[in-house]
């Protein structure tokens, strides 16, 4: 049976939903083992058993977190060789993609990023050119490295739980020598809102907000949504750059995207046009966003958004 490795980096106290998705996808492709970096705590260990993981690999060295990606890629490459795996799954975060990139070179293995589904024969599906095309791609080397986007697989525990073996992988000597070292790290204050990239609902604001994100944030909180922004809004400094949706920001595919005061030029469209449902509110009837909106309101967002927020609160009681 084909062997699949899932790389999980510092899960902390509990596995993220995206990790459970990778374990579920892995199981559909073969016998799945985990390559872990960081502590293995009880709840995580229990989840591995529940998801039918055959083995959990841990690194011989503890200092991988002090460096950018290179030593993690070296560790993962050593694990792939030790396990004789044919497929490696990682999350689609910037770091996941970079580890995948370096792993690919180390193992002479093809890498496919932004994967949304994998067939039994290894064909990976993804969308390209800002969602305007969907493609199917295959890795032509013995080992395939795939980074998988969140929210495309429904997490499902195995039919019967497993008793994962524990194994240690020797991190190759010298793997930190040519790596950038992290000298300082500051946590940002958490917003309490869902992560923009994975959120089910996104409420985004643009130039039309004129510096006041209040109405967007209040609607987002009523819906349990993440807050996004156009480049105009982030460039103006009204909201952090992290919130930018678009070609030079994040690409999102939520169930619902509410666009407020954003004209919807191609730079913005590139980041959100794969959303399932798009709602747009804009004063300007000529805004391009109305060409792609499922429901459009020509009106003042400072009237429409607060009214909608109140109505949602009322209905949710």
């Amino acid at each position: 049976m084909a062997k699949v490795l899932v790389f999980i980096d510092n899960p902390g106290d509990a596995l993220k939903k995206s990790s459970l998705e990778l374990l579920t996808l892995g199981r559909s492709l073969g016998e799945t083992a985990v390559v872990l970096n960081g502590d293995l705590r009880t709840d995580v260990s229990d989840a591995f058993a529940e998801y039918g993981v055959s083995a959990v690999y841990q690194p011989s060295a503890q200092d991988l977190d002090g460096y950018l990606v290179a030593p993690k890629a070296a560790y993962l490459a050593a694990a792939v060789e030790a396990a004789g795996a044919g497929t490696v799954l990682l999350d689609n975060s910037p770091e996941g993609k970079e580890i995948a990139a370096r792993l690919g070179i180390r193992l002479s293995a093809g890498v496919i990023t932004d994967v949304v589904a994998v067939d039994a024969d290894g064909t990976a599906h993804k969308s390209v050119l800002a969602g305007s095309y969907t493609t199917a791609a295959k890795v032509t080397t013995p080992v395939a490295v795939l980074t998988v986007k969140a929210n495309n697989v429904t997490p499902e525990p195995a039919a019967s739980p497993s008793a994962p073996e524990a194994a240690t992988v020797e991190v190759p000597a010298g793997s930190t020598a040519a790596a950038a070292r992290i000298t300082d790290r500051q946590q940002k204050t958490a917003s309490g809102r869902p992560d923009l990239t994975d959120a089910r609902i996104v409420v985004a604001g643009g130039r039309g907000l004129d510096g006041d994100f209040g109405p967007v944030e209040q609607l987002a909180d009523a819906l349990g949504a993440a807050v996004g922004a156009s480049r105009a809004a982030t460039d103006a400094g009204w909201i952090s750059h992290d919130a930018q949706v678009g070609q030079t920001g994040k690409t999102v595919s939520p169930q619902l995207y509410i666009s407020a005061g954003i004209s919807g030029a191609i730079q913005q469209k590139a980041g959100m046009q794969t959303a399932k449902v798009i709602v747009a509110v804009n004063k300007d009837a000529e805004s391009p966003v109305f060409e792609i909106a499922d429901f459009g309101i020509i009106g003042d967002l400072f009237d429409v958004l607060p009214q909608a927020t109140e109505e949602i609160k009322k209905r949710k009681g």
């Binding site: 990606v69 993609k97 293995a109 064909t123 032509t140 950038a180 449902v277 792609i292 109505e311």
Partner: protein, 270 residues
């Protein structure tokens, strides 16, 4: 005066994202008829120019070299870079490169960088945060792995002091400072600077700057190592997504907020 730097900036010519973009042919590759210098690469070039200028610029012996890989049109990305202030350009072009994936691209670029570094080694390789067409972001990391160099991606600030660089990186949940020794591969974000526009003087000066064309033979790469033959992935099918169509558009008559919520309820999105 600080030591001079030899910096290579990777520049890519990409289809203009302001227009519709298409995949063509057997290999499902990008149509590059309407191509421009990737906007994100301008930030890398600006970062290189600022590092060079802080050390006395080209007069003091600093080099900012624009390197582009691609068909004939890719030379336009190099020309634009020279107009902005790069000191010289290289254009790696060969029919066999067509259809290269990230692995094959990084192999060819690594060989070209070694070639350009013959005699006087390169201190820094700078790239944009992503290409605006392929969007895989794999090439900088793969290049670093192939060259055995530290990689610093998504730098929102970059300083070089002697043989060390310091950069700031901003993730969603944290900001960090990283250090690496030179030479290194660094990708920069669109937050790092405000790229300059080429001025008239720059446009005239660019005409006298040299652009060297490199073939695979020049950099010692065999045709079988690149292109679709040398790639480790293959695109088996590509389908254009049907364009979105407009739905219901209403004008606010004082109750549009309520109608919005009605719509969400009907779509089971509440």
């Amino acid at each position: 005066m600080e030591e001079t730097l030899k910096i290579i900036v990777l520049v890519k010519h990409v289809p203009d994202a302001q227009f519709d973009r298409h995949l063509n042919g057997e290999g499902h590759t990008t149509d590059r008829d309407e191509s421009i210098l990737s906007e994100l690469d301008e930030y890398a070039l600006e970062a290189a120019l600022q590092l060079a200028e802080a050390r006395g610029g080209s007069k003091a012996g600093n080099q900012v070299i624009a390197l582009s890989m691609g068909p004939a049109g890719a030379v336009n990305a190099v020309k634009k870079s020279l107009q902005m202030g790069a000191t010289e350009g290289f254009h790696l072009t060969d029919d066999a490169l067509a259809g290269s994936d990230a692995a094959a691209t990084s192999l060819a670029l690594a060989a070209a960088i070694r070639h350009i570094g013959t005699g006087a080694p390169v201190d820094l390789v700078l790239t944009g945060m992503a290409s605006t067409d392929g969007e895989t972001s794999l090439v900088p990391a793969q290049l670093a792995e192939r060259l055995g160099l530290p990689q610093v991606t998504f730098a929102s600030s970059l300083e070089v002091d002697g043989e060390r660089l310091t950069a700031r990186r901003d993730a969603d949940t944290y900001s960090e400072t990283v250090e690496a020794s030179l030479p290194a591969v660094v990708s920069v974000t669109d937050q790092i600077n405000e790229p300059r526009y080429p001025n008239f003087k720059g446009i005239i000066a660019a005409k006298r700057k040299s652009i060297t064309t490199l073939s695979l033979a020049d950099i010692g790469v065999d045709r079988s190592q690149v292109g679709r033959a040398g790639s480790w992935t293959t695109v088996t099918s590509a389908e254009e997504r049907p364009p979105r169509t407009a739905g219901t558009i209403i004008t606010d008559e004082g109750d549009a907020g309520i109608k919005l919520v009605d719509f969400l309820a009907a779509q089971k999105l509440l």
